[in-house]
Amino acid sequence: MPTPVIRVADAGIRFRRNRGGRRNFKDLFSGNTRRSRPGEFWAFRNVSFDVLPGEAIGVVGRNGQGKSTLLKLVAGVVIADEGVVKVTGGVAPLIEITGGFVNDLTVRDNVYLTAGLHGMTKREIEERFDDIIDFAEIGDFVDTPYKHLSSGMKVRIAFSVISMLEEPIILVDEVLAVGDRSFKEKCYRRIEEMLAGGRTLFFVSHNEKDLRRFCTRGLYLDKGKLVLDGPIDEVLDRYNAQYHS
């Protein structure tokens, strides 16, 4: 049996209920006490699963059940309060993809910056640069400051950069709800291609059609727990039975 690329064991994370409420130094530094303090709630607890290379996982659940948080744990941009999240190999996170782009710099500089921050070397970026621009269909705007691009172009170039990262794990968090239909379809084909290339997908969406299209296995988060871990159809049926009947 191949070794898992993502191992999540007994993971839990808690948040404050009232943002901007009063804080004191004690809250700040008591990072790993297990009990919940007043004003805090666990987004989820005791979540455990392994993901094997090449699997395509869809995370299902109602709003606020911690789907995006789970994705962020895997991406390494938040840290679990308990349990272990171990990810072997690099991650290409399609989360807030336009976040790293700087308004005042040109598209070219931005591509080098973002791809570089995600671990690509300069030479790798150079090799791929034309493909990135082609995919985003913004060949005429390579030396335009990023702020002058239309919002559609911004998303296109951002998706293009992240999707060119040669990382074994792809994380997708509803970013594909943007852009026009033909570009969206292009992104989907790109994701399918990457899946065919043996990459691992971790997908958060409310769109049942998309989930069934890409994923083979589903994780159902509800009421702070991982309720079901099984084939995506089974997971979606259970979810629908509970909330859409």
Binding site: A75, V77, V78, I79, I97, G99, L117, G198
Partner: protein, 272 residues
């Protein structure tokens, strides 16, 4: 027209060490900071020199022309003495006050990239430090122009730069995460910095302080660091007593900073 997806991805990447990736990301963000600063203004580099120069002339006017330096404060040429303290102060001041917004300004990027979080502070110290080093030729030009002289103590410059970097990183690591929770701290830091400007030997020298104040003032780590810088032009400014204390203080700040940062990192990430 897609790039064929190779099947060996991840293999090469894991071979690149963490240190290489850290340096790579740190350098990218530092370069970005500098490029943004210079590409959006016509004068670019000139600004980073003009700012301390104008300040230096203001202080020169106030303290030399108006107050006649009370007789014997600092050294001659005073403008070199002043700049030798003012330029590194700009580095310290700029990096610490920027670090109050280290996370808030880059929240989107912090939320989407999993680079080691200390980079968000270190890049500020590095980019301001590069500006400082780039401004040093101006200091040298003034020294030559006003008939000052450079001596062998200039070899202590790298030591002073390292000490200041350690100190500034330490303070940045304390300030940056705490501001995320206590927004008031942003203004408090600005206020403390303004106080610190006059509490540190910038417009005066360490030895100009009353003798009974000196033991207390030695605990301001900037004092020792600035006296190292100044000794390159004024050998009698070299006073090892505050230097040793400020070296110890700088290391303490760094250790405390790393501890605070590590302890609060998890909560900071949730808060952004």
């Amino acid at each position: 027209m897609f790039v064929p997806v190779s099947s060996d991805f991840g293999v090469r990447r894991t071979q690149r060490s963490h240190l290489t990736r850290y340096r790579h990301a740190l350098w990218l963000l530092t370069k970005r900071d500098l490029r943004v600063r210079y590409s959006t203004s016509a004068l670019g580099y000139v600004w980073s020199i003009l700012d301390p120069l104008v300040m230096a002339f203001i202080y020169y006017f106030v303290f030399v022309v108006v107050f006649q330096r009370g007789g014997s404060v600092g050294e001659d040429p005073y403008i070199v003495f002043l700049l030798a303290g003012l330029l590194p102060w700009m580095w310290f001041n700029g990096a610490v006050s920027d670090s109050t917004r280290a996370f808030i300004r880059e929240a989107k990027l912090v939320r989407s990239t999993s680079i080691p979080r200390t980079i968000w502070v270190n890049r500020l110290v590095l980019s301001k430090g590069i500006e400082y080093v780039a401004a040093l030729p101006v200091l040298l030009a003034f020294a030559l122009f006003t008939g000052g002289s450079l001596n062998w103590n200039a070899l202590l410059f790298p030591l002073a730069i390292v000490m200041q970097a350690v100190l500034t990183i330490g303070i940045g690591l304390i300030v940056a995460p705490l501001v995320v929770f206590f927004r008031d701290l942003e203004r408090a830091v600005k206020l403390v910095l303004r106080f610190l400007f006059y509490a540190s030997p910038i417009v005066y020298g360490f030895s100009d302080l009353p003798v009974e104040l000196q033991p207390l003032a030695a605990f301001n780590p900037l004092g020792g660091i600035f006296s190292l810088y100044r000794s390159a032009f004024f050998p009698e400014q070299l006073n090892w007593y505050p230097v040793v204390i400020s070296a110890i203080m700088s290391v303490i700040f760094l250790v405390v900073g790393l501890w605070v940062f590590k302890k609060s990192e998890r909560t900071v990430l949730k808060e952004l």
